[in-house]
């Protein structure tokens, strides 16, 4: 049985009349521990689909199941990383990472240990006591990912988390993200408009346009993927395939 199961998910904005359909009868499944990417142009409905999967938006029709349980509201089993780091500027890096736990219950020493471990994994041990504005964009994104992972979610949903970063920082973070998710066998759905990013990260890529999936492909590049994979012939063939699907060829 699949781990994440999206069945006929449809979402329409409740405007005047029938409302505009943003996500149109999407079916998709993700097996446990797999990394899937969703690519598409701005406004194609990919972020909306991700929010439906997160339980932040209720689908107009259809459903999303995670481990066989229907998603009706945000749950602690799902981590979400937003387009911007969305850190609380008045709290330290450590407190930001601990936020998901401190909202649920009183903090215990083991929570701090776990936060310290995550900080080490994202290479920010020395920054625990700093404030978000004292960090670079890439460091802020790392904190946001650590915050999403501290509750040890079964599923991690990411909404173009690296879109605002420069190319080199983005590549570093992609490597880190794969490492972190493999480490815990987290199932991932990652939304992006960057074709190369999608292919580098994913086991499977879906191309979305006007609320529908136009194309889906399995990325057969072996793992672990080194940096030079990005310049291989196969990588470029896959990029072209996705690109042509986006162009509607």
């Amino acid at each position: 049985m699949s781990f994440v199961d999206i069945k006929g998910a449809t979402y329409a904005y409740q405007g005047g009349g029938n409302g505009e359909i943003v996500v149109d009868r999407i079916d998709w499944t993700i097996a446990e521990g797999e990394f899937h990417c969703l690519v598409g142009r701005s406004g194609c409905g990919k972020t909306t689909l991700l929010k439906v999967a997160a339980g932040l938006l209720t689908p107009t029709e259809g459903s999303v199941h995670i481990q066989g349980i229907r998603v009706v509201e945000p749950s602690a089993q799902v981590g979400f990383v937003f387009q911007t780091p969305t850190l609380l500027e008045w709290q330290t890096v450590l407190d930001n990472i601990l936020l998901p736990i401190s909202l649920k219950r009183k903090l215990e020493p083991r929570d701090r240990d776990k936060a310290a471990e995550l900080l080490a994994l994202v290479g920010l041990t020395d920054y625990a006591g700093r404030y978000p504005r004292e960090l670079s964009g890439g460091q802020q994104s790392r904190v946001a990912i650590a915050r999403a992972l501290i509750i040890e979610p079964l599923v991690l949903l990411l909404d173009e988390p690296f879109a605002a970063l420069d190319a080199l920082t983005r590549e570093e973070l992609q490597v880190d993200l794969i490492r972190l998710c493999r480490h815990r066998k987290t199932t991932v759905l990652f939304v992006t408009h960057d074709i190369a990013e999608a292919i580098y990260l994913a086991d499977r890529v879906a191309v979305m346009e006007k609320g529908r999936f136009r194309h889906a492909l399995t990325i057969d590049l072996p793992r672990p993927r080194a940096h030079d994979v990005r310049y291989s012939t196969r990588f470029n063939q896959l990029c072209l395939e996705v690109r042509q699907a986006m162009d509607g060829a």
């Binding site: 932040l56 937003f82 909202l103 978000p132 004292e134």
Partner: protein, 252 residues
């Protein structure tokens, strides 16, 4: 540092010009007393202790009014900011109470509370209420939508969202309201004393007018100005302290 010299230099030039003008024209002390005369009056008033109870009374009235007005304004701002229904129902009334010139209510308050401190405090509180209400409401309503979604995603309760996201996030705006309230509070207290006070700096101004004692009136104006500047600076310090975490890394 350079600008500070200019600021003080300007004051010296201004005072010297004023003094010179008074001496050269020989203008009556009743119309425009020379700075030396004013400062002598001020000095005597302070040393003899004549002015001190009045300064104290006005300060207490202002602080009480500020505390009550800001406290109620803050709470009402949160309630109206959090409840769409109440905001829609009550906001027109809030505006209406603010459009009424509050000082025009002093005669009524004298009937209700009598002459003296209570009336002045009530007026000051009414004046401070609005900036806090308005800024608190604005501050807690304009929250980054992604941060709201983050708190929803993390399953935060409404109270948690209020205390751990909305109030800290709106704090800079709320404190800007406090700064406005402090300035208005002093003006409110002094002007309310014009009408309702038997003592206090405002009442003294009216008394000095009755005694045709212009140097005293000027001395009082200086006291009020210094008082206002001190309170404003104190508010800035409080603001900096409360926002010390918000400001971390801002300058970089």
């Amino acid at each position: 540092m350079g600008t500070r010299i200019w600021t003080w230099g300007l004051l010296v030039v201004f005072l010297a010009g004023w003094e010179l003008a008074c001496r050269v024209t020989g203008i009556s002390e009743l119309v425009l007393p020379a700075p030396t005369v004013v400062f002598l009056t001020l000095w005597n008033g302070l040393v003899s202790g004549y002015l001190l109870p009045h300064i104290w009374l006005t300060t207490v009235e202002m602080l009480l009014g500020l505390a009550v007005g800001c406290g109620i304004g803050f709470v009402c701002g949160i309630v109206l900011g959090e409840t769409e229904f109440l905001r829609r129902v009550l906001y027109p009334y809030v505006i209406a109470t603010q459009v009424v010139p509050k000082l025009a209510l002093v005669p009524l308050f004298i009937v209700w509370f009598g002459f003296g401190m209570t009336s002045t405090v009530v007026i000051t509180a009414l004046i401070c209420f609005f900036p806090l209400l308005e800024n608190t409401m604005t501050g807690i309503r304009h929250i980054d939508p992604q941060k709201r979604e983050l708190f929803r995603m993390l399953g935060a309760t409404r109270l948690q969202t209020l205390f751990r996201l909305k109030i800290p996030s709106g704090l800079p705006v709320i404190l800007a309201g406090l700064r406005v309230a402090v300035v208005l509070a002093l003006v409110g207290a002094v002007v309310a004393e014009f009408i309702a006070g038997r003592a206090g700096l405002g009442a003294m101004i009216i008394a000095s007018q009755g005694m045709m004692d212009s140097p005293l009136m000027f001395a009082l104006l200086i006291v009020i100005t210094i008082l206002g500047m001190l309170f404003y600076q104190a508010t800035l310090l409080v603001e900096q302290w409360l926002l010390r975490r918000h400001l971390k890394g801002e300058s970089q």
